[in-house]
Amino acid sequence: MTPTLQAFVLVSGALFSIGLLAALSRRHAIFILIGIELMLAAANLNFIAFWHFAPQPHQPTGVMFAIFSIAISAAEAAIGLAMVIAVYRHYHTTNVDQLDQLKG
């Protein structure tokens, strides 16, 4: 017996929810970035799973989507972490609740 597409999509949904939990509930900027990366990883798992279970999986479309998505999330991580370091230099904190200078 082999796992069905449903099992993979369920795991992907759970991974997405965990990423959302990290992004919404933690107050440290690096945790928020980790949460966003987890959500992107869940999306990549969905791409690969739907490609694998497609009726005609000869076209590598899902794999291409996953490769480009990985490249873009690497760029996103580099920019995000650079912003964390820049914010830390200016405010000496990485807690996103304390970065409230624009608050009215």
């Binding site: 017996m1 999509v9 509930s25 933690r26 690096i30 990883a41 000869h58 650079a82 912003m83 830390y88």
Partner: protein, 160 residues
């Protein structure tokens, strides 16, 4: 691909991801994040996408996780721990999880077994990248270059 391997990898991935989301020490969370990515790469191997699994290991564990660890070390004076915890976020994440699970379980067309497929070789991926996907490939190259130069400029010391 059998059920035992799937369940094992699923438990490893979800437990490591949950640890990354909830552990109080940042460094432990970053290492759990790397473990979760190892599990994800194992999923890609199970699904027959070996190239993407290897790329995931190289890019995420080799670059992104190391970058996160470096950032933690560079910003360490600001307590290694995360004190605040927003319970509204937990509620929202739980609601999203329940909604997703309910809708996935309701969808009948998802309970299919994989068709028998030819293995996807690196040669075919390379051919596809160099023929049908040349423009996206060039755009991603440009984006990565711009993003890395931008990251360098962001963290450069300001000289006065």
């Amino acid at each position: 691909m059998n059920n035992a391997a799937f369940i094992l990898v699923a438990i490893l991935t979800l437990a490591a991801a949950l640890a990354a989301a909830t552990l109080r020490k940042l460094m432990h969370a970053a290492l759990s994040f790397a473990a979760a990515l190892v599990g994800l790469a194992a999923f890609f191997f199970l699904l027959g996408a070996e190239f993407v699994g290897l790329a995931l290991v190289f890019i995420y564990i080799g670059a992104v996780a190391v970058l996160i660890v470096f950032t933690i070390l560079l910003t360490r004076r600001d307590v290694g721990k995360d004190r605040g915890f927003n319970w509204a976020g937990v509620l929202i994440a739980l609601a999203v999880f329940c909604g997703l699970t309910w809708s996935i379980l309701k969808t009948q067309s998802l309970s299919i077994v994989a068709p028998h497929i030819r293995a996807l070789t690196v040669k075919r991926i390379g051919e596809a990248l160099m023929t049908g996907y040349v423009w996206p490939l060039q755009c991603v190259g440009l984006l990565l270059t711009a993003a890395l130069i931008g990251a360098l400029i962001l963290v450069m010391e300001e000289k006065r």
